[in-house]
């Protein structure tokens, strides 16, 4: 081989290596990649704003409705170019996506995690923007507390709240000889209905989430509905675990009896939020508990037939029972620059907030959703005042397309229930710790519930003391 040809080969290889290095490094440079969380100003002077849209699996109509709203917003704000990004809140990947710059600039997080996120510095401070828009005094104070740090700084816009509800399949109720317009009002009635459904149809009468922290979440919700609390806030930044209480014990005994005595739980004890929705939407499950706003996902993402759907309030019993609340918050990525932050706040105000308080915005939003066959009128709780919420329901009444008459057992009774917030100390860690407790009861007929609770209490307290 001559030197000349060898030099050419070496040169070509080095050039290829240089290109490889360039290819590897260009994505990591925020100044050249507007979408990765740095400066988002495009050459034309418009700001590219990446906003969360829907979870994977959402139907095309949802995107059509979003495109309509996107066009409306861009017409009103020609300097902002909105880019919709498929998004689903998942705790496991959040921190890595944030660090890697692959999160949208605007996204939503659940109340459950907001405190931890803001304490970790993972949310953008929007105190000045919330004040400037005049929202500081209008939010429900209990809800606003979830996005406020110890110094009073606000890190997001609460945009939707829900209360826990009991979802049921009307077809399975009818098949089991039960009246779907008169759903169970006590936990004993839930058990009886579950047994009737299982005996008659062979389907699961009642089921409950048990994995990926949702087991602990639902155990907590049902504890609250039986008058128990899994944690005491000492008011000085410390918390005391109270998992070993009568409400939690009654909940576990209920699960044990449905599973082992009535044989009405079904075979699957490894369901989480997504898979229990899937089972319910497919008509394999009679009843389950989850947030009152899950109807939208059931129909949009899981293809449920609306005629089968029924919703009622959580049965309450014991002293001081309540209904566990939740919801989500629209937040801004902490890595964006000032101009993108301003655009992000504009979008949040326009897309999430205005429809809650402005008649024209509420109607435009409802119309866009209704025109593309998306759910309008799913029962939620007010993040602002109850009066404003009731008024907004009047504004959009003509666009409501969800079977609200099938949800009246919930909408007529929810206001009589006391809303209770989720435990604040190490929320997700303690939910994760309670998952195996629920699983133990569902997989071991002779599980020692008292021993499980005592151990979980000790483990939770150890976490809270860290």
């Amino acid at each position: 081989m001559s030197i000349g040809r060898r030099t050419a080969a070496v040169g070509a290889t080095l050039a290829a290596s240089a290109m490889l290095v360039t290819a590897c490094s260009s994505d990591g440079d925020p100044d050249t990649t507007p979408t990765s969380g740095g400066s988002a100003e495009a050459a034309s002077g418009t700001i590219e704003l990446r906003v969360a849209t829907f979870p994977p699996g959402a139907d095309e109509a949802a995107y059509e409705a979003f495109a309509t709203q996107e066009a409306q917003f861009e017409e009103a704000n020609p300097d902002i170019d909105v880019i919709g990004v498929e998004y689903e809140w998942t705790g496991p990947t959040f921190a890595v996506q944030l660090a890697g710059g692959s999160l949208p600039d605007v996204f939503t997080v659940p109340f459950t995690d907001s405190k931890t996120l803001l304490e970790n510095g993972q949310l953008m401070d929007v105190t000045a923007e919330v004040d400037a828009l005049g929202y500081s005094d209008r939010f429900n104070p209990i809800i606003l507390d979830g996005v406020t740090d110890a110094d009073g700084n606000i890190f997001g816009f609460p945009r939707q709240a829900y209360a826990m509800g009991l979802h049921y399949n009307r077809d399975l109720f009818e098949a089991a000889g039960l009246d779907p317009d008169n759903p169970p009002a006590t936990w004993d009635e839930v058990r009886e209905a579950a047994k009737a459904i299982a005996d008659t149809t062979g389907k699961a009468g009642y089921s409950q989430m048990a994995i990926n922290n949702t087991g602990g979440w639902q155990l907590t919700a049902q504890t609250v509905s039986r008058g128990g609390r899994t944690q005491v806030d000492n008011g000085d930044g410390t918390y005391t675990s109270s998992i070993s209480n009568a409400g939690t014990k009654a909940t576990l005994e209920f699960l044990h009896d449905v599973k082992w005595e009535d044989n009405a739980f079904g075979a699957k004890v490894d369901l989480d939020w997504g898979t229990i929705n899937q089972e319910f939407a497919a008509g394999n499950l009679g009843m389950f508990t989850s947030g009152s706003d899950v109807y939208t996902a059931l129909v949009r993402d899981f293809g449920m037939d609306p005629d089968q759907y029924g919703l009622t309030v959580m049965p309450l019993e014991g002293d001081d029972p309540g209904t566990l609340g939740g919801g989500d918050i629209a937040v801004v990525s902490p890595t964006v620059d000032e101009s993108t932050k301003a655009a992000a706040v504009k979008w949040i105000d326009w897309y999430y907030m205005q429809k809650l308080m402005n008649e024209d915005a509420a109607k435009a939003d409802a119309q866009a959703l209704a025109d593309s066959g998306q759910a309008v009128g799913t029962p939620v709780l007010p993040v602002l005042s109850r009066e404003l919420y009731d008024e907004s329901q009047q504004w959009i009444a003509e666009f409501v397309n969800v079977p609200q008459e099938q949800m009246t057992p919930f909408t007529e009774n929810i206001w009589d229930q006391t809303p209770v917030g989720e435990p604040k100390g190490k929320t997700q860690e303690i939910y994760a710790l309670l998952d195996p407790v629920v699983q133990a009861v569902l997989t071991d007929e002779s599980a020692d519930i008292d021993a499980l609770l005592t151990q979980a209490d000790q483990d939770a307290q150890a976490l809270l003391d860290q």
Binding site: I3, L20, V96, N120, Q122, I211, D444
Partner: protein, 311 residues
């Protein structure tokens, strides 16, 4: 100019940077450069970063804080570590019992087949071609615990009642091993089949002349000839099962009641499950401990088997 030189003269000459360049060192380096870069960026870099992170407390956003051996101590004090180690050993033992002899047996049987050998090889290898996630989701359907689930229906035909499979603390791990064996056996079979081709046919001819049955030929000729490959495959399997993650993650998430929580799944949980900041320090600390353990195990294994191995 040409580079033709007498080899004997080159060997005698002292190696200097100049001779290295003259002998084409630069060309070799240039060709190796892309691979070196890829390894540095995607393998060695993350490995070094992980070791550093195991001594830090970080949420990847705020500045990392050096915490000494705190992460290692926290991992060793975690009650779940013992469970995860025992579960991993259980998986490894089950995988060894189920998954190790089957491919050898299948390969020996297939090597004896006179016609249609290719079809059997293709059928055996087919599960390896199926993407692992797809395979797990497929088996999840098979493992449906309801009486009309696929496997339960089959069991029903022979009068066995429905089994809970993944929904049971006792059956979840064996269920995982069955799928893992199914998924991995094809690759091992192909390797054993290739090794069997290298066995001199004269040995079989001699055995046949002596009147050896198929089993005696397998025991006295085939297995001893495969010894080297078997040792390598065994250590590879031990290393793979010690790092089992996909099956427990996708099938059960470590449940029910942590009965399938393995060491690697525990690492994942430290880093991601309770994340919102993630305990990356504990995750990398356990990763470092596992890597050291496996490196030691491999070294001991090769020391012990060196004198038995033919390779």
């Amino acid at each position: 100019m040409t580079t033709t030189q007498a080899p004997a003269a080159t060997a005698r000459r002292r190696r200097t940077p100049r001779t290295w360049v003259k002998n084409g060192g630069l060309t070799a380096l240039a060709f190796a450069l892309p691979m070196i870069l890829i390894f540095t960026v995607f393998s060695w870099g993350p490995i070094v970063r992980s070791v550093v992170m195991s001594f830090q407390k970080t949420n990847l956003l705020q500045p990392a804080e050096f915490v000494g051996f705190d992460n290692f101590i926290a991992v060793l004090n975690d009650p779940l570590l013992g469970t995860a180690v025992l579960n991993t050993l259980y998986f490894a033992a089950l995988a060894l019992v189920m998954g190790f002899p089957i491919p050898i047996l299948m390969a020996v049987l297939m090597s004896e087949v006179r016609r249609g050998k290719g079809i059997y090889s293709a059928l055996a290898y087919l599960p390896v071609v199926v993407p692992p996630v797809v395979a797990v989701l497929l088996w999840k359907v098979f493992y449906d615990a309801s009486p009309n689930g696929v496997l339960n229906t089959v069991l029903g035909w022979v009068g066995i009642g429905p089994q809970p499979w993944l929904q049971s603390q006792a059956q979840a791990m064996p269920s995982l091993v069955i799928e893992a064996t199914w998924a991995a056996a094809g690759g091992s079979i192909i390797i054993y089949l290739a090794a069997l081709l290298a066995v001199p046919p004269e040995l079989y001819d001699a055995a046949e002349v002596d009147g050896a049955s198929i089993w005696r030929k397998a025991w006295h000729v085939t297995l001893p000839q495969l010894r080297g490959v078997i040792f390598v495959m065994l250590i590879l399997q031990i290393l793979a099962t010690a790092q089992i993650f996909l099956e427990p993650f996708l099938f059960t998430g470590g449940g029910p009641v942590n009965s399938t929580t393995t060491v690697l799944l525990l690492i994942y949980r430290y880093a991601f499950q309770n994340s919102l900041g993630g305990n990356y320090g504990m995750a990398t600390a356990l990763s470092v401990m596992l890597a050291i353990f496996l490196a030691l195990l491999s070294w001991i294994y090769f020391r012990l088997t060196a004198r038995w191995s033919t390779s």
